[in-house]
Symmetry: C2
């Protein structure tokens, strides 16, 4: 980290100045303007739950999937799939399964990302090779990571096109019912959804601040010493953000601990192990 | 997907034409040039294992982490951390734990991504709130997905800066020893590494083709009908790629099935469950 070569390979965007301040609140000294258009676009991420009625431009889905497939995949196994749901009735049914979130029903494109070992099962059938390794937690994790890397590339691509997105973890509230709705084969699991659409400009979303880098980034070894001060600051940064959004004020540390206070706080996902076993995963 | 609005919000890059052909081989009709610089950069991903001796420009690490923190995170829990390893001796020791991969030893920056529930444990201690929910597989999965989304944003940022990257799944071959090397607290797991560096121009990497979209992208429901033809084509595309790289020719379907043929093909990761339990995860 000690050379003076320029950081900007891609041309920087027109509106660079405030991205770090928005991302960290007052807690982090500025590095200056984002070095290029890609990083500027990544830093501008916000969760969009309000979409306009505008349809998506032709080719959008295919570019999102091409971007997703361009992400790294463990050993090139490509252990993921994606189901594009555009039928309003199917989106409405999936919304009911995902805690009745309105944006699941109302977005023009709902992408359901599948941690998918079934294609390897079929490759085994085609070649006469056993695929008993699929029954291990390791392979479930490979599929989950493959799906997440792919989805994040699709998200970055969508946002670069001016679209808004919202991940839907609640797609795990009823895994077997979601699998049935989507006709998933054995060894395939809908790990999360992603709403995609044109943001409703009358209900704009804001960039949410994150913890200071001192709480997340460690050098050489993990050290917790910097974390308490960073969390105290962040509790205040989030209270300021909540005030600006007319949301109820609460410390991040308390809200986050409450979120994992026990099995009852997991929205039914405390039964994920049995759901995955019912879907064919061994998790050995 | 039926409007005619333009796709290009960001300005397109200078060298747009061949990205889809490289990504899919001859198997997919072209959509034309990538609509903007972000998508062009995502489509240009390749795994880089050969790095030059050039140090990274000042500020690189901080921009990568700011990009990573800008990714979505489930319920804003931010269940991940990253350890930046630049000490050559530590990289050498980690290389030994990761199947002796030379690029782990030789890259200037090794980022180890941590699926990290320990911060929530500390938030619980700070606030006096129980965090028994951390003991469920669901929360391990949340942490794994959070870490993967963050890492992929860092990868996209690195590539936009002209840097090369390589994910290191072998960081899971010896989880307890990696945790010890990095001084990880309980409930923290090194899910993968990421080598970052300036690509060695004398040993350039190539874009690896992927399965056709017809095998990955499903509309409304999962359908396997298109997959057999896509896999037959892809086996040939990959043989062509392997020939072009002077690699041994093998069908993707056979190579991939072999990779999961049984516990012995998982590089020691068949014991992931017991390793995670030893690191504090309940996986209930």
């Amino acid at each position: 980290m000690n050379a003076n070569a320029p950081l900007n390979v891609l041309a920087a965007d027109a509106n660079p100045a405030t991205s770090l301040e928005q991302r960290y609140g007052a807690a982090m000294p500025s590095l200056g303007a984002a070095p290029n258009a890609v990083i500027e676009s990544l830093l501008g991420h916000r969760t969009v739950r309000a979409f306009s009625d505008s349809p998506l431009p032709e080719g959008t889905l295919e570019w999102l999937v091409a971007s997703a497939q361009s992400a790294a995949t463990s050993s090139n196994l490509q252990c993921w799939s994606v189901v594009a749901v555009q039928d309003p009735q199917r989106r409405a049914r999936l919304s009911v399964l995902a805690n009745n979130q309105a944006h699941v029903r109302d977005c023009p494109l709902l992408l359901i990302w599948i941690a998918d070992l079934s294609r390897l099962d079929r490759a085994g059938e085609k070649t006469g090779i056993a695929t008993a390794g699929n029954q291990y937690l390791e392979m479930f994790l490979v599929a989950a990571v493959d799906a997440a890397l792919a989805a994040q590339n699709a998200t970055a691509a969508a946002e670069s096109l001016g679209l808004g997105t919202c991940y839907i973890g609640a797609m795990r509230n009823h895994p077997e019912k979601v699998a049935q709705e989507l006709g998933l084969p054995s060894d395939a699991f809908a790990i999360f959804g992603l709403c995609v659409g044109v943001p409703d400009e009358t209900r704009p979303a804001s960039v949410k601040p994150r913890l200071a880098q001192s709480a997340i980034l460690h050098h050489e070894q993990y050290r917790v010493e910097n974390e308490p001060a960073a969390v105290v600051d962040y509790d205040q940064v989030m209270r300021g953000f909540q005030r600006s959004q007319n949301m109820k004020e609460v410390d991040w540390s308390a809200q986050s601990a409450e979120r994992v206070s026990g099995p009852g706080s997991l929205s039914g996902r405390d039964r994920l192990v049995s759901a995955l076993r019912a879907l064919g995963f061994g998790l050995e």
